[in-house]
Symmetry: C2
Subunit: 231 residues, 2 copies
């Protein structure tokens, strides 16, 4: 592993993230990032091809942290692999990380053009929310409603989850619900809509599921640091 190389990438990503959250996507310049990271501007282009790819990497690294937290929780408690438990944690972890929160709630003030930037495609939440592999394992172990095939969720599942994120900027100021409660409502909806009344045991599926999320985490990690160079 290229230790120092990745260390420098992290310093640059730290700088980009900090400025992104402070000033918003539009106002952050490559020069400022380089200055804050203590590197020359050209160095940034040794890691990523374009400004867009750099910010994509910022998001990808956040996704890695989230996925690692998810996988750790699943390792600690197999119940956590259930769709509604996963999405509950997904929601809480995403809302706790300012960059991901901005992405998922579509915070235009912070992200501006980045919201509709083409470089974002590979990261699209769909991958995270409706990972086919994950859903296939759930279905195979009787953890989805009988007769529900993974592709049946292609539309409904991301749509429901999306709603819980995207509603955020529209909520009236006097809503008193906390994050945990909102996450609970989301989980409840998904459990009732997609899960069996008496699900099978989780343990047999837990190993496979954890592996899927570990792999997903690695994929995002490669995407974050490997923008220009190979693995």
């Amino acid at each position: 592993m290229r230790g120092e190389h990745d260390g420098r990438a992290d310093r640059i990503l730290d700088a980009a993230k900090e400025l992104l959250l402070r000033w918003g996507y539009r106002r952050v310049t490559i020069d400022e990032i380089a200055k804050l990271a203590g590197v020359g501007k050209g160095t940034i282009y040794l890691h990523w091809r374009t400004r867009e790819e750099l910010f994509f990497a910022v998001a990808a690294r956040e996704a890695v942290a989230m996925l690692d937290a998810v996988a750790a929780a699943m390792r600690a408690d197999p119940d956590e692999i259930m769709l509604h438990r996963y999405m509950r944690r997904f929601y809480l972890e995403a809302m706790d990380r300012p960059v991901l929160r901005a992405l998922f709630t579509r915070d235009a003030e912070t992200l501006d053009k980045f919201l509709s930037s083409p470089a974002r495609k590979p990261l699209e939440g769909a991958k995270l929310i409706a990972s086919r592999d994950y859903l296939r394992v759930l279905a195979g172990h009787g953890l989805l409603r009988a007769g529900l095939r993974p592709e049946d969720l292609d539309y409904s599942l991301p749509t429901i989850v999306f709603g819980f994120f995207a509603i955020e900027p529209l909520l009236p100021a006097d809503v008193t619900l906390g994050l945990e409660e909102k996450a609970g409502h989301l989980a409840d909806t998904l459990r009732r809509t997609f899960e069996p009344e008496r699900p099978s045991a989780r343990e047999p599926a837990a190993g496979e599921v954890v592996e899927i999320f570990e792999r997903l985490s690695r994929d995002f990690k490669d995407a974050a640091y490997g923008g220009k160079h190979g693995s």
Copy 2:
């Protein structure tokens, strides 16, 4: 009732609606509306106080048409009062009406600033989706899950429904689902999340529910035509 007065209002609203859909909110001027409606500009201000209120009236009149269709369907078939059936029809009727579709899918190209305009508040979908009166009647007649109180839906119900509308502009072009199928997924989600497994009979509640929607329709009608003058 002031027949000719309202007739003229309708001609103005027709003109405003037509231009809105053709050109988008930003490009439509009061002068053009007046010209197309065959009235003087000042006349428009005899009906509504501001441009915003005029366009709000356009939307309100569409909502009236939708609510009337909803109430008619409920009169024809009491099953239609069930939450999941209502929201299914709500979705289909709204998506069939370009103005409402633009509103609910938050079509920025068409609506521009109108999306965040203060005059829109009284119309907010929340009123339509989570009418407390309606939900109270459902709960009172055993048509909501046991223990579910109307206010428990304040957050979840509009959030889920919102997701199904707001996801529209984000769907990849190759989604093959038709409107009916999407409506079906929405209905399924709401039925499983909020309704009892074996609901009571609908007939006892049907009359009350129809009345609620008829009243809601009248409210929106007043709002549409009564911007300046009383009833």
